[in-house]
Symmetry: C4
Subunit: 373 residues, 4 copies
């Protein structure tokens, strides 16, 4: 029973089937529940079905409450070393996701009892959306990137502030006598932000010749300067994604015996070339006659190889797809996953740059390839 | 006859002349036909020439129908191993391009018979544009990129959604009492999207001081966050273009005997440095006296070299342009393509980094260069 | 006393505590003072509290004046070789930051005496913001980048001007008869700038079919061309940040004895891999059981290592965190800074690429690691 | 006389002084003349000074005509091998810049005689701006980039067209009954372009719920897709700038004897690390006591070195600034250009990566450094 409940909220690459169902149901509940909270702010949107909407909303909240209870319960099942079950549950309650889960059900628990004002219901209803953060590593990644790039980000923020202040002061002096949108520097600041971010609402627009001239310069400068933080974040984000990919690949490489013969620096090199890939049962990984652009290493799972040389099964630690890369010919066999597989994929380009360099390695691959042809 | 028809729709780097004409005619027909379908939605645009527009439109559809028939017919001419002509045709019919071709002529075939409503004619008329996808690899490339970068794209989509929800909730509370554009969170969401994507229509604009302050923050954050998916797609796209270039170059390198002496890892390296280029008959590839910035390897076709050392012809497997790179002097000869050529181009920078490294290689090039000087 | 005053405005990585307090107070004064100057342009914003605002503003100016006096005074304490104290003070007065400091207090000193017009007070009040530039290297960095990339920036400016002129001429001829926003080429120029910078205020919009067609082309071209300067600046900025990081790391590497055995080119290589990091007293740098993704070198300061092998202290020149990288296991100890530390951080990926290459180096790290396990 | 005239329009890195003056005068004339042509389209802008403006304009045209005559004349002075002076002049006339020069003075020559309509005067007046293209390599570079990246640019253009057509069709069906801006697909197309390019004029905005939903999706997709061509152009542009820098550096390296001992591949490597720099007479290149971040190689010109070891002069082929890089100490001397200099600059980072690798090279630098210390 304990194991079954824990399995229900299990995560990781290959959760049990019930976890997949439960997760999907939960995501739907969260999304629908947030959508209802958003729509609920539109006066009279439900028409005569208001009662129905409330009931449905309550049902969704019941599911979320059940999820919270479940997580609270199971948190006590696997305490860390030297921790009581109670302390483990407290740790979950105070963790970020624990707080998100708590806030998602507060209005249901408290609001019903103490008659929470409508605005509170709206806010907590919309906050439910944060529960989804558990299923997306994006927010964590973004947080890491912002911390890593804090100095350049603050630097560009300072430049942006300086530009906003300078341009609104200039435009204030150019336009204040004729344009109500530039009555004061703080009014002009709204125009500056809207212009520098290339929004251009058009609610405040310079009308004098001098104002338009200055506005043109601000528009062009803004375009250049406001690209700084965007580009810092974008490149930091893609760098962080690459780093995360390296770390996860690097730990998997150890599970493939073939790489055991590599030296530490070679392992680090190949780990940054490999890409992690997953296959579900029955997925066809390559088809006889296709052009071969990569080879595969099996981390876990089994595949079936069907070629002219007969049919055989490969499992964790084996590799396949190397013949097309060595011989530069089309695929000589069709490969199908016969269980869920974790695979490491090596591109043609990287294969040659890396493997062909090391004759001992190439020899091992050649031997395997020859035995299969 | 069969060969002639197949040649009509042939693809690849060097199709027969009739295929070039047919393809051009078809592209014009598709573009004009789509344009007519678009313009047709403007009430009374044809004036008294409506009859004429209909007739012309019918003519274009006739061409497209002919094209569909032709492709259906020829699909049966070259069935795959162990396939009947009928099965090959069925395979074409169910392929993506087969469906595009089919949809392009449906209104003509069905609409005339069963009196399709006008909206249907518009939709199918505009869908004809998809037939062009056959001639542009862009959509396929984009599809590959979106699949490759699915995880970071979804991650940034989640961040965008979170920001849209958070900012519309904030602005709703700040503006709801005075601004009809923020009557509900869902109304505010329209403002959020328009602002976060830096569109800034200006149909909904915050008017309170708090609203403007929050709006400024949202504008700046939006600028940064919405650059994420754009930059992920853009870098993925250029990476994919480079990879496709590598694969096509890598297969052509084998056709140049000069590269046969290279080891597999060297071939992989040079293949990522070479650029594929095509020349039509009569094209001048280099002119005596110009600065030399690259050398050429001929994959197929013939060129005529006219220099002080006389005139001679080079053909597939030969290379030229190496003298200017080795001697750092202007071109010593003029080279003209005397048939359609496929060439591999090596930049000066890459030439020195790669070739000069390997003395044996350099020696071969030197010998050839000396024999020509 | 002299030392105490100098310490008050000291800069660098680890200033005395009083400098941190003074700096924070000053930053608050500058920000508040600028904000008051900006708000002051809004008619009647203070209501009946105008007197209070003036008094508070005067108080802030007093602090800024005190800061200016302090800097002027201490500038004379540490004159350069062969310089009198007076000359050293003059040098400060004429330096960029000296001028900023001077301008920040001019209206207070002069305005009170000679009754400066209100506009002057506004301008100088807002200019006070420039004093903050001292605390942000961003403006200097930006200046360096603009100088480095001057040629491509001017090149793209020329292209932008050409496009603005061409598009406004075209739209002028297309729209002049019906659209008051395109009465002359110079009027059309405002539309061009607003469109090319993707601002799109909407105050001037083409209305004829030809104008909309041309406008669409201009919009798309503008999007492409106006990205040039933004991308030049953004990549130049991140390149410059990386260069600055290299220079500061490169000078710190010399303080870590471990790197003494490296050759000059290896030092240059590792310096571009290391990242500079600081820790305050009591900060936990790694926790037992976490995944290890980097190792640390101590430039200055002391850390306490608490693991299964007991508790010991490491100080400048030592390194830690190497076990998790070599063994690919979780952290085996918890490390806490027991004083302010400057650290150089080496990523797992870089560790393997660099260190594992050099067997002698790896041996040294191994020995240390073994003695700790 | 001939030489004097030729010198007047000479180009290249170090033109004679009269060429600098003539060029500056010409640039001013072109800019002013274009500005007058633009302002001239504003009704009654000159007021009663119209006569004056005409006369001034005529004067500027006279200068441009003189420039055209001068170039036509001098074009005949240095014909290519086996060319008559007349043929050389004809070649200039038909060259791109010849045509620009010709068009700049056509209205003056022809308009006065045949009474050119005012619109013609405007167009040709504004076209004068193209004469500036001679002084900016940007347009040529851009042309090269567009040609190089034609395939990906066309690919992204196709995607953009597809998105514009699809989104305008969808919005047409969603909005046509209530929104006059979506009366037909071609009307909706204007909205699509304005939205996809993130312009957002706001003249046409979806008003129905479905229209807003679709519009949001289009806005986000547009943001992503329209970044493709911008990023392709931007990266192509910076790549081309780097290539041009390599080519010009590569040819200068040969003039520095120090590099003669390098092998071809090393020369190619160092050429991509060096940066070209120019110094005018009297410019201080480094100052004693500064941090040293680069070393210099003199291609042409002379510099004066003033240090503790005395004062000496270095000229083409020599290098300086190496001590600070080897010893990681501040500059030990002040260096001033005593004539116009062309210099190649090597960064600290690149110095160590490249030079320290090759012991023979380092020895040569060391010897020189020791002899100076």
């Amino acid at each position: 029973m304990r194991a079954w409940l824990q399995g229900l909220i299990a995560e990781g690459p290959f959760p049990p089937r019930r976890a997949v169902f439960f997760r999907s149901a939960l995501v739907v509940c969260i999304v629908v529940s947030t959508a209802i909270a958003i729509l609920d702010t539109s006066e009279g949107i439900w028409g005569q079905h208001e009662e129905l909407a409330r009931d449905f909303s309550a049902l969704l909240l019941l599911v979320l409450t059940a999820d919270y209870g479940l997580r609270l319960l199971t948190a006590g099942f696997s305490p860390q070393e030297g921790e009581t079950a109670l302390k483990a549950r407290l740790r979950y309650t105070l963790s970020l996701y624990g707080i998100f889960d708590f806030m998602a059900v507060v209005p249901f628990l408290v609001g019903e009892a103490f008659d929470l004002p409508r605005d509170g219901a709206t806010i907590f209803g919309i906050l439910r959306f944060l529960k989804l953060a558990r299923y997306s590593p994006a927010l964590e990644t973004l947080g890491v990137v912002v911390l890593n790039e804090l100095r350049p980000l603050l630097a560009s923020l300072f430049i942006m502030l300086l530009m906003a202040i300078a341009s609104s002061t200039l435009l204030y002096f150019a336009e204040r006598s004729v344009n109500p949108g530039f009555k004061s520097v703080s009014d002009a600041m709204w125009w500056s932000i809207v212009t520098l971010s290339t929004l251009g609402y058009g609610d405040v627009v310079p009308t004098t010749v001098l104002g338009k001239l200055l506005g043109s310069v601000v528009a062009v400068l803004g375009l250049c300067m406001f690209a700084l933080p965007a580009s810092i974040l974008a490149s930091g984000f893609s760098e962080e994604m690459r780093r995360q990919n390296f770390v996860s690949t690097w730990h998997l490489v150890a599970k493939v015996p073939f790489f055991a013969r590599l030296q530490a620096n070679q392992i680090a090199e190949i780990a940054s070339l490999l890409k992690l890939s997953r296959a579900i049962k029955g997925e066809v990984l390559m088809r006889e006659g296709d052009t071969g652009e990569c080879m595969y290493f099996i981390v876990s799972g089994q595949v079936e190889v069907k070629g002219k040389g007969g049919t055989f099964v490969l499992k964790n630690g084996d590799f396949f797809g190397e013949i097309a890369l060595i011989e530069r010919c089309p695929r000589t066999a069709t490969v199908k996953a016969i269980s869920r597989c974790q695979l490491l994929v090596l591109d043609a380009r990287d294969f040659h740059k890396f493997v062909a360099h090391d004759h001992a390695l190439l020899e091992v691959i050649w031997e395997t390839a020859r035995s299969r042809m």
